[in-house]
Amino acid sequence: MIVRKRRRIQTLFRRIVSVGSLALLFHVFQGRFTLLRDTRTDGSFLVHHFLSFYLKAGCKVCFVGLIQSFSHYNVVAQKLGVSLPAAKERGQLVFLEGLKSCFEVLFKEEPPTGQPNPLQFIREGGSNLKALYEFVRTSLTPSESDSWKCPVLLVDDVSVLLSLGMRPVDVLDFIHYCRVTVCSQLKGNIVVLVHSSEDSDDTENELVVNALCHQSNLILWAEGLATGFCKDIHGQLKIIPRGPAEPSTERDLPRTYQYKIQDRNVTFFARGMSTAVL
């Protein structure tokens, strides 16, 4: 009977914890820049979450997917309850498939009319991401017939731009231009994923990550466990609110949760409260 009572208290505690500051992940704010950061693990589950969340919330989304193909995001979004082709057809989602654009810019003839390819810097060199910024701006600027809520820009991921020959200052310029347009002018949100590592030799990447940390309103930092690999706990997530105050009770406190990724969702729990341990 005592065991049962203890279990009930534990599940109650877990539920309170999960409702608390995870609400930051489930509320559509406006004009926010959220940085997703991962260390020693893969934080792309956060990208999938935000994509399906904003589509369900009725926002217009521009997704710059540089690292994976469209079908990968599509399959996962199906599991989370959203259909990406349907969203594309009704004009809610503008998807830039980086890999396909890269192929088109290198191996196909350029179409005579229309927009220049957003990834033309791969062919022409130079070091500016202006074409990519123009693409984002034209996709998210609302037309008269649009009835969507705030526009959202999702970028997966920024570290790839550095691998393609961009300097850190070009990447930061691009993010800055996007923030001015999307966050300030259009009152939308930006969510960006970067990879980082504590003892990384990639100084350019660390420079970009630090600069983005300072510019962001919210940092979600997914880390692999410091103690090593565990089957039941895939990592820990630090939620660090920053920037101008919002009317929220936990605005200054960073919170840490551990998570386990399952096939269709992610469960969060307080540290040490995993079912494997209890």
């Binding site: 893969d42 193909s69 790839v160 990447n205 096939d263």
Partner: protein, 399 residues
């Protein structure tokens, strides 16, 4: 095309609106196996134990990067297993190298061990199957045996390193070669800013083969679909015109990463898989290796014991080296299949290349063999190690 493979008809159990109509041929590709949990088509890497560690096999449309061991012996072997598996399964090959002529590489591939069917087994199976066929009677007349001995439709084979592949089998496979010294004379058509010309030619060559042979679905009426296995040897070495593996401050650190990005775009849109061996131990700039890891799907590092002090260490006497799985791709799913253990070692015998969990504790060996003298030997070894370590420390303090 890989988009169709990864998200297409082989999936089950999710909303029917996603099912793509008219793709029955994908699941029947030779030498492949569908992974129903993720809707992917898997290939064997040529080593069945490596397939098991990687979660069933290599997904079509992905890249397997092997960080070479110090002398390149075992990474070369894995490279050859991959190509041999392609030949045995009936796939097409594309072999690229700056060091060896691809024709020579293909002549040295290991021969497969095709097992003979046991007679007793067939009798037992047919008895079982007759009972079964009472319900599934429509399938009674389908042939039980494979018709062609040349192309085996099994997934994953074992190879005999001491024998080479028969020339007949080699003749029957379509192999494309890319040997860099011979391609220098041709002028590249595409323009990628600041990339080494060897890489540009290689990308152009791969794209031409993919387009002409229809691996990207551009000739749907042509013939039966097949897989293209691409093997690139020793990428990033000096012979490709790069200097990242010979200086601390290379001139151009972006060539290799740009190459991998463009290669990724080619792989994802075609029915192909690629293996690349990279001399990671020679690349001093670790930032490049981090970016290379992020741009690859599966990354496996080999560490052989040749020439190191572990070669004579009794703890490692069963193994030839360690294998580190740095990354496994998370495709079409939120989670990836990670194996439970990270301590893996490999061992090469004539007919078998196995990867197994490293048994470091010789107490365990001694306990299993239940032999007192082995137990005493183990005890003495540990004690001796401790003693020499302690005395060594003592001497250095005295100095």
């Amino acid at each position: 095309m890989a988009a169709l493979a990864t998200g297409g008809a082989v999936r089950r159990g999710v909303a029917p609106s996603f099912r793509r109509a008219g793709e029955p041929g994908l699941a029947a590709l030779p030498g492949t196996r569908p992974s129903l949990r993720r809707g992917q088509l898997l290939l064997s890497s040529g080593v069945p134990s490596l397939d098991a560690v990687l979660g069933g096999g290599l997904a079509v449309g992905t890249l397997l990067l092997i960080e070479e061991d110090k002398y390149g012996i075992y990474s070369n072997l894995l490279f050859k297993y991959f190509l041999a598996e392609g030949i045995v399964s009936g796939h097409h090959l594309f072999v690229a190298s700056a060091k060896e002529d691809p024709a020579d590489i293909l002549k040295e591939l290991p021969a497969p061990l095709l097992d003979e069917v046991n007679e007793e087994e067939t009798v037992f199976k047919s008895k079982e199957s007759q009972d079964y066929m009472k319900i599934a009677w429509r399938y009674q007349n389908l042939p039980k045996m494979e018709a062609s001995p040349a192309a085996s439709s099994r997934f994953g084979h074992y190879y005999d390193v001491s024998k080479t592949l028969s020339p007949e089998l080699l003749q029957s496979t379509k192999c494309h070669h890319f040997f860099l010294p011979e391609e220098i004379s041709l002028h590249p058509n595409i323009n990628i800013c600041n990339m080494t010309s060897g890489y540009i030619r290689l990308l152009q060559s791969i794209q031409r083969i993919i387009y002409q042979e229809g691996f990207d679905g551009s000739h749907p009426q042509k013939k039966q679909k097949n897989i293209l296995r691409i093997g690139i040897q020793n990428l990033g070495s000096v012979l490709w015109g790069e200097d990242i593996s010979c200086t601390d401050n290379p001139e151009d650190i972006y060539s290799l990463t740009k190459f991998l990005y463009v290669l990724r775009s080619l792989l994802r849109m075609s029915l192909s898989a690629c293996i690349i061996t990279v001399p990671a131990h020679l690349i001093q700039n670790k930032a490049i290796m981090e970016r290379v890891t992020n741009l690859s799907d599966t990354v496996v590092g080999l560490e052989s014991f040749i020439g190191s002090e572990r070669e004579t260490n009794p703890l490692y006497k069963d193994y030839h080296g360690l294998i580190h799985i740095h990354q496994i791709p998370q495709l079409n799913s939120l989670i990836c299949d990670v194996s439970d253990t990270k301590d893996l070692a490999f061992r090469l015998k004539r007919k078998l290349f196995t990867i197994e969990i490293k048994k470091l504790c010789i107490w365990e060996e001694a306990w299993k063999s239940k032999s007192l003298c082995v137990y005493m030997f183990a005890y003495f070894c540990c004690y001796f190690d401790f003693f020499t370590a302690a005395s060594g420390h003592y001497y250095s303090v005295v100095e």
